[in-house]
Symmetry: C2
Subunit: 155 residues, 2 copies
């Protein structure tokens, strides 16, 4: 739970800067080696999803593109890009909080981690601290809708 | 052909530094706005695939994560990570040279660009300058095998 709690703390950092609240950590030998939170809008760049930031930092930290002994904890099921990066980096296990019914590529829309033809498989654990991760996202989108309504009234 | 020729020139830059020769360009309103070539080993980082480098640069160039009016030319069919980034960036069209039977996610293994559930579809054109793109890859892997044989003899 401590690693997902830290991932959730990172997601809250995204919330504070008005980004969709997704956070993650990369763990190796029971130590957090890198962290990330979604900053796509702030950076105006698709490559700034939480998982991509954390994978980028982890590669730099251990100076290797192979993150074979690493576990990635994310508050949200990864999209195709992030799932693809996890596969490319040969991360051994992904543990995520809540499901992404629109873009999730660890089972919700498709499952990139268990494709027969790929040379790497990733173990998946889902639903860890699901309620907390889901609530944060719901609160964010509720806030967004309220802000939009207020803006519309002001126009 | 001029854009794929340029993508191929980029792939040759990768070849010269002993990287799997993949190159690409991002085109917007008939102008190349960014380019990339594979540097995964040099940078020790999975995020340095040709397409990721070019998408990163394109987002920075136009200061937007939405590359909606862009076309990506790549010498090789994109992997899951790169296909996911293309989807996330809402690139409208991808034109690639040769097929990636092991990791290709534009039809060879799976097709991420035509998933019913995703909110964005990407037009695919495949096989442009296929022979040239394929030959470059074949030459690279042939050279790799030769180098390994020589190394084994020397041990």
């Amino acid at each position: 739970m401590i690693y997902m709690t830290q991932a959730l703390k990172n997601a809250k950092k995204a919330f504070k800067i008005n980004e969709i609240p997704v956070g993650c950590v990369v763990v190796r030998e029971n130590k957090i080696i890198s962290q990330g939170y979604n900053q796509r809008n702030k950076k105006n760049n698709v490559l700034y999803h939480a998982e991509m930031i954390a994978i980028n930092k982890a590669c730099k930290k251990i100076n290797d593109w192979r993150l074979e002994n690493c576990i990635l904890y994310s508050t949200l099921e990864p999209c195709a890009m992030c799932a693809g990066a996890i596969l490319q980096a040969r991360i051994k296990k992904i543990i995520f909080g809540c499901y992404n019914h629109k873009f999730g590529c660890a089972g919700s829309v498709i499952n990139l981690f268990e494709q027969e033809k790929f040379n790497h498989k990733v173990e998946i654990i889902s639903g860890l601290m699901q309620n907390e991760c889901e609530c944060l996202l719901k609160n964010f989108f509720m806030m967004l809708r309220k802000t939009k309504k207020i803006e519309q009234k002001e126009i």
